[in-house]
């Protein structure tokens, strides 16, 4: 009887811990998606989702808590930017300071295309004509050919 009781207690305990440990899959998916967008400030080429740095763990916890409290993704992004600046976003917003970042590649491509078409337009359009061989050179060539035939 006592053994059965203990067994039941254990099962209940296991069930309780399992329940407590099972995260809400919808919430976890949102946490995962949002932390992918946030840059870890300690190891700057990793997202908060990937990073094992202490701060990244804390920020993941913060994101999870805020989502669980019903905050929207944008509210959380704003919260992070308020504290860490645009740097924390892998997808920084377009504003005057980031204009060059956003338009730079486009400008480079326009420049390259411009140069390409300018050169295409202005290059020498005369067809490449082979210089007509003069008679002496032809005779020399023929002699060489003939000489070669004699040798073989």
């Amino acid at each position: 009887m006592a053994r059965r009781f203990i067994g039941a207690t254990f099962i209940l305990l296991f069930a309780a811990t399992a329940l407590a440990a099972t995260p809400d899959p919808v919430l976890e998916a949102r946490v995962a998606k949002l932390t992918e967008e946030l840059r870890c400030l300690v190891c700057q080429n990793q997202s908060i989702a990937e990073s094992q740095a202490d701060l990244a763990t804390d920020l993941k916890r913060q994101v999870r808590e805020m989502l669980a409290a019903g905050k929207s993704d944008q509210e959380i992004r704003d919260y992070m930017v308020e504290r860490y600046g645009d740097f924390v976003l892998y997808d920084p917003p377009m504003k005057t300071q980031t204009l060059l970042l956003w338009l730079g590649p486009l400008l480079l491509m326009l420049g390259a295309l411009g140069t390409f078409f300018w050169r295409l337009h202005h290059r020498d359009n005369r067809p490449a004509t082979a210089a007509a061989p003069d008679e002496a050179a032809l005779a020399h060539a023929r002699a060489l050919l003939a000489g070669k035939e004699e040798q073989t």
Binding site: V42, L55, D58, E82, R83, G85, D86
Partner: protein, 176 residues
């Protein structure tokens, strides 16, 4: 034709100039968006007397320095003598934010190395740290009498930083 031949050289020089500028920048120093903004509010237990709290409002009217430190932080050891020296000059209150540390470790560290802080407050979970945008310890925030963050030092305060960056700003703020 001659001018055209110089184009690659010009591009090369421009590239070298950009890379040269890049070398002088520190990518680990991320400018804080909190400069000139009100310092985030906090109410944290003190390190020495954990039953007592310090709130942001308690510092109202003073120019003060919030220095984020931890006993596990290696660079803090480098900064420590500078802070001790600075504290002796009694220029302004230095409040230590003991960040994600264990209380006994923190107390032992201060006992061993000396305590430059007017007092230290405990942010065991790093939540106030997140509010202040702390991402590497040590960091220091210069806060004015109206409770606004006016300057942030990322990394250890060196004698040079103290002399060139902090002291002039402190003087201006204290005379304001």
């Amino acid at each position: 034709m001659k001018a055209k031949a110089l184009i690659p050289l010009a591009i090369f020089i421009a590239l070298v100039a950009f890379l040269g500028i890049g070398l002088t920048l520190n990518p680990r120093e991320i400018p804080s968006p909190l400069i000139d903004k009100p310092a985030p509010d906090f109410a944290l237990p003190q390190l020495a007397q954990s039953e007592q709290q310090l709130k942001l409002a308690d510092m109202q009217g003073k120019v003060w320095l919030l220095n984020v430190w931890a006993s596990w932080c290696v660079a803090c050891r480098e900064e420590h003598p500078v802070l001790l020296q600075f504290a002796r000059q009694n220029v302004l209150p230095i409040i230590g934010l003991n960040y994600k540390d264990k209380r006994p470790d923190a107390l032992a560290w201060l006992q061993e190395g000396g305590d430059p802080y007017t007092l230290s407050i405990v942010d065991a979970e790093g939540r106030v740290g997140i509010d202040y945008g702390v991402y590497g310890v040590p960091e220091s925030f210069l806060i004015d009498g109206k409770g606004r963050i006016r300057y942030k030092v990322i990394g250890p305060i060196t004698p040079e930083v103290l002399e060139k960056e902090l002291l002039p700003r402190i003087k201006v703020l204290q005379n304001a």
